[in-house]
Amino acid sequence: MTDSFTRRDFLKVMGAGAAATVLTGCGPASRYVTREPYTKMPEYTYNGQSTYYATTCRECAAGCGLILRTHQGRAIKAEGNKFHPLNQGKTCARGQATLHGMYNPDRVQFPAQHARGDATLTEMDWDAAIAVVQKALQDPQGTQFLLGTASDHLFDLVTDVCQAVGAPSPLRFGALSMFEARATLGEASRAVFGKPDLLFFDIANADLVISFGANFLETWLSPVAYTRGYAQMRRGDVRGHFVQLEPRLSETAAKADEWYPLLPGAEGLVVSALGKLFAEQKFGVAPAAFEMVDLAAAAEASGLTLEQFERLAALLLRAERPVILPGGAALAQAEGLETAKAILTLNALLDNLGKAGGVFHTPAAPLADSYHRPASAAEISALVKRMNAGEVNTLLVHGVNPLFELPAALGLEAALQKVKTVISFATFPDETALAADYIFPDHHGLESWGYQRVQTGAGQSALSGSQPVVVPYYNTRATADVLIAAAGDALPFKDEVEFLQSKVAALVEAPGGFYSAADLPSFWALFQQYGGWWQNDSSASAPSAAGALEKKLTFHAPEAAHAEGEHEEFSLYVYPSPILAEAGANKPWLQEIADPTTTVMWNSWLEMNPETAHHLGIEDDDVVRVISPAGEVEVSVYRYPAIRPDVVAIPFGQGHTAYGRYAENRGVNPALLFSAETNAAGDLAFGGVKVKIEKTGKKRPLSRLESKMGVYGFGEEH
């Protein structure tokens, strides 16, 4: 060093070094995370200097890439990974709040045994825990895994474990996939396009988007990617036009240029009528698929006027790149499968398959033989039946909270009593964990290795990688490591990292990658550094709908709710809370976020048209009893100006009886009102539920951002 190299110069060099290491990955040498004293800082950690790690968000199954800012071994901020093909540097509210899940005071802190239903945990050591799992695997026929929709690496590992020991294949479930009616969409895709693969709707390049209840700016499929698509549609050379048809004006519908309040269950009739009108005006004759529909009957059943049908058909005729979206609520109906087919067939009629602004098959994800769709309600019912028949001796649950997310009518709670041993791997003492005999807590997603297949929002084939960004905070252990230890010689891996490397090895030679490496250790380092692996170019393929237009589709008018008399009935519309979704209720900042449409915080509410409320003599904050054939809940009323008078709505996400102090005993769970009825594809037909409303005479004020009036006297009896 020369004399002229001053301290200032040294700092400059340090600054440049910091800039170059914005994306810092673990080198091959740092495969294992250990606790170190501050005198011996972990690799890449300097005092006062933040270190950034690329990983994957686990707040939903979409698999957005995150960059975690860590400082002195603590994770302090989640940011989007701008290289990631799915979210391109952006995040949603739930992704931002993921740290409130990790640094939450109510996590399960050690492996434990407890009496079912009892919240007091008796600590065990991990060797004893592994012995419990080992014992379960010795009875493979009686062992059943129930997994969540994230993370995919654990699903792959459990699949390997089940194959190795001869246990039944694992089931996956997530409430969001239930609300999206994934099985129905997949079955319709198989019927119309010949392949059950997931679909990608290129709204970014469309000039007309007509959505049947698809809440793609909230939770649908991959909300961050679809929000970017929405922004591109609006900002294109021509500002795209957006029409939403659904019974209540959602956060997504609030962004629409036109909103049509449609009666739930009439979507199929409307799609067919639109297809018929469009085809008759464009080609002079309607295809067989849509010729059966009677326009006047469709108008009568749906609540739309003939002029509105003409208006929508005119839009389709004038648009150059129209696309029609199949929202989950439209498919979760008795005739939902037919509706899904009708929507895909209408897309085929509009000739947008595989074209810019149209419908695509998403490419096969890396490391996947096929798309493993989350279980439908019918498949869960089959599991419940097996449990009731005493065929399941051990149920192992990870990444899902079925006692909260599934409708109570499916009878899982009673069936759990027939299972000898229930093992939960939950990070939180949720409802299912408290109904288990053992809780062997997994690390939080940010403390974990793993990968997630990106299947719903990117044209590229992409695998999003996870790595621990901090040392695990509590005495938790990776479920993968527990299973590998319990499976013993049945699996050829020493630990989770070795399993992941054995999987990822297949990608080292894969063509078209964002980066390439000569050997596995170098590839593995890049995989951590960039937070996954993906192809540069889109490989989304064009679906073919040969013959679909010739297959007849028939629909019936939805059963109308009894509108007259004392026993007035309403259609119940349940939608996932845009902020909490299926698992956000335990994060205090998400609870405090105002709902985008009602601005209510920290609670549930029932949306009711002000006219209806006036007619029933109900005011804001009045507590009503909502009664369905399956159950009842008591909830405060929010008079919502943009909902059909014959429909009431409740968001899904609150109503926990466990799951930490911020979630417990707060709001209601509308899944209690669902019946077990399914549609032809096996998805829950929750869209057809009818409810009665009874006044209770009580008042429970809702905290809302929009008004400070009405909360004084909060918590007092009225």
Binding site: I76, E79, Q96, L249, E251, K255, P596, M601, E611, I643
Partner: protein, 251 residues
Amino acid sequence: MAIPKIPEFKAEWKEGEEGRWGMAVDMDLCTGCQACVVACSMENNVPFVGEAEAGYGRSLGWIRVERLWEGQYPEVKMTPYQPVMCQQCGSAPCEPVCPVFATVHSQAEQLNVQVYNRCVGTRYCANNCPYVVRVFNWADFDRPDPLPNQFNPDVTVRRRGVMEKCTFCIQRIHRAEDQAKAEGREVLDGEAQPACAQACPADAIVFGRLDDPESRVSKLSRSNRGSHLLEELGTQPRVTYLKGGSNDRLG
């Protein structure tokens, strides 16, 4: 007897002069998803207050996403989502009323800054803010362990009795400026990003330098879709709101 000179406490601001840092919010793109609100709270150590306090209007969020209703069912419409944060006024009504100079105009960034350790909690500034974007710490809100592990060391943790508000993430501006200075260059457009703009999935929030006519935010601020909140008050807000358009053929 000589009259003591009263110190200058209001920014010397000339009409028409461009401020250094500014923001443009495209309300046609904003989906009301609230990612900005959570991102801001995580970056700036903003506490949550709980259901009852939130109901009394004591939430401490530095941004709120506003929406109003127009018309009656079925001809009902929601007004475009509008994220409202401190408008960083060039002529800020909050500044002259502070008796202890806790809310001052910084000469360097030309931002309206809040000096927490000067603030004695008179709340005059919040009273005088036409945008209602200042929030007051009515209590030390409980953040049980281990939640404080997540605190951002670049941002002061505020205590009871202190007023706070959006800073345009001044710690991030400083980080970008220090970086640029170390490398002997100007700050690049987009290099300094407040947490809200960084998170926004629709890219509706754009941040940058208004004294650079070529920056994205400058171009958007000159858009004929743009307007300022309550600009008739002469506050010279530094945030431009862009309204939506329509499709000639379909709309």
